[in-house]
């Protein structure tokens, strides 16, 4: 990808050694990040790019003055060339630093709020400060959720499969296995405060806790939270099935 001077295959010339930019130091920064993560901030590379930007800017300033006062309008393409180079250098630098920030942000989520020294060694002082500010913003946000204690959203990144219920040292999971529980022993279901009921008459829609509703038709069977159906049992709509 990099060609430093000399003839290319088509016979056209390539930019020579003269330019840090054109030989791709800025792009090398970008490529270094494309490949791997968590290197040291390339302070030398960055310094080189910034120095070149300063030189380009000064040359352009002087040429602009000459173009305006000395009537050298033929310098305009040259000025444009240098301007493009400045924009390019800026883009590479910003993209490089931004990508590092994305990785540092990810560290908060994947590693936690306290980083080991070895990782911190790879971060510049400004990046460390950014990390601390990000931590604070995240903590403030989490405190504002879920009532008085707040909610740690960096936990349980994968939704828990089941709610575990202890019964004499045995863990039982709800959901799919519930029907099995009912078959094995109704008393276990009672321990989770669910009752197996049979509907004795057409009742219609009955709303359960989380907003879903159940259609109570004659002879249909359901697992319902006990406290909810107690009244219906007493009313004779439902029949509580004991094993």
């Amino acid at each position: 990808m990099l060609r430093k001077g000399g003839q290319s295959r088509s016979g056209a010339s390539s930019p020579g050694q003269g330019s840090v930019l054109l030989s791709g130091t800025a792009a090398a920064l970008a490529r270094a990040l494309g490949a791997s993560a968590n290197g040291n901030p390339q302070e030398d590379g960055l310094r080189q790019v910034l120095e070149e930007m300063k030189a380009l800017y000064e040359q352009n300033q002087s040429d602009v003055n000459e173009a305006k006062s000395g009537g050298r309008s033929d310098l305009i393409p040259t000025i444009k060339f240098r301007h493009c180079s400045l924009l390019r250098n800026r883009r590479c630098t910003v993209a490089y630093l931004y990508d590092r920030l994305l990785r540092i942000r990810a560290l908060r989520w994947e590693y936690g709020s306290i980083l080991p020294n070895a990782l911190r060694f790879h971060m510049s002082a400004e990046e460390m400060e950014w990390f601390n500010n990000y931590k604070k913003s995240l903590a403030t946000y989490m405190r504002s959720l879920g009532g008085r204690e707040g909610l740690d959203i960096t936990q349980d990144m994968k939704p828990p499969k089941s709610l575990y219920i202890e019964r004499q040292g045995l863990t039982v999971s709800t959901g799919m296995n519930l029907t099995i529980i009912a078959v094995i022993s109704n008393s276990w279901a009672e321990a989770i405060h669910l009752s197996l009921v049979r509907c004795l008459k057409d009742y219609g829609e009955f709303e359960v806790d989380d907003g879903t509703s159940v259609l109570l038709k004659k002879n249909s069977q359901h697992f319902l939270p006990r406290w909810k159906c107690e009244q219906l049992i007493r009313q004779g709509v439902l029949e509580h099935i004991l094993s």
Partner: protein, 216 residues
């Protein structure tokens, strides 16, 4: 599997590159042949063989044929072609377009220009009369190759895939990787491991790195 690092995506296939995308920066570093329509004073230092020397104010003469990176060509181009005019790289010209239409699958797109689609899409900015044909060619080439990429990415599980991706350009490799990730996620779910909390790859890579540091 829940990764927290999301790199900035490439925009090269659309109308504009993404400013912060490292992929786009690398893509626009590639060169294309141009012709200088006007002399460029004081830039002779960059193009030593072409420099007119001190009498011309160290200029790159008008009419010089150069290879410039895409970002520079884009920046200096205007529709009146006052500063430069652009020539299409060979792989986007008619000869190669015929090759692609014959059989898109045999071509090693990684060798002829690792960012074939992205670079080709951005080439459309230069208002070539062949633009319509170029865009058709890019599209049809992709359509011709896509089936094989999808197939292989969905069926190579736990294998060495280097042979499969060797002749793919960067965009196709990204696609292949996405397919592989989907396949791996599905297999993981099928094994019932989807809810398993795993060590983040960031941490894993860091640990690997630490080990190799110790070896030095």
């Amino acid at each position: 599997m829940s990764e927290a690092y999301f790199r900035v995506e490439s925009g090269a296939l659309g109308s504009e590159e993404n400013f912060l995308s490292l992929d786009d920066i690398l893509m626009s570093h590639e060169k294309l042949p141009v012709r200088m329509e006007t002399a460029m004073p004081r830039l002779g230092a960059f193009f030593l063989e072409r420099s007119g020397g001190a009498e011309t104010d160290n200029a790159v003469p008008q009419g010089s044929k150069l290879e410039l990176p895409l970002w520079l060509a884009k920046g200096l181009f205007d529709n009146k072609r006052r500063i430069l005019s652009v020539e299409l790289p060979k792989i986007y010209q008619e000869g190669w377009r015929t090759v692609f239409s014959a059989d898109a699958n045999v071509v090693d797109l990684h060798k002829i220009g690792p960012h074939f689609y992205g670079f080709g899409s951005q080439l459309l900015h230069f208002d070539s009369p062949e633009n319509a044909d170029i865009s058709q060619s890019l599209l049809q080439t992709f359509i011709g190759r896509f089936r094989r990429i999808m197939d292989s990415s969905q069926n190579a599980y736990n294998e060495d895939t280097s042979a499969l991706v060797a002749r793919l350009d960067e965009m196709e490799r990204g696609l292949f990787q996405t397919g592989q990730k989907g396949l791996n996620d599905f297999q993981c779910w099928e094994k019932g491991q989807a809810s398993q909390i795993t060590v983040s790859t960031l941490v894993q890579n860091y640990k690997k790195r630490k080990f190799t540091d110790m070896e030095d």
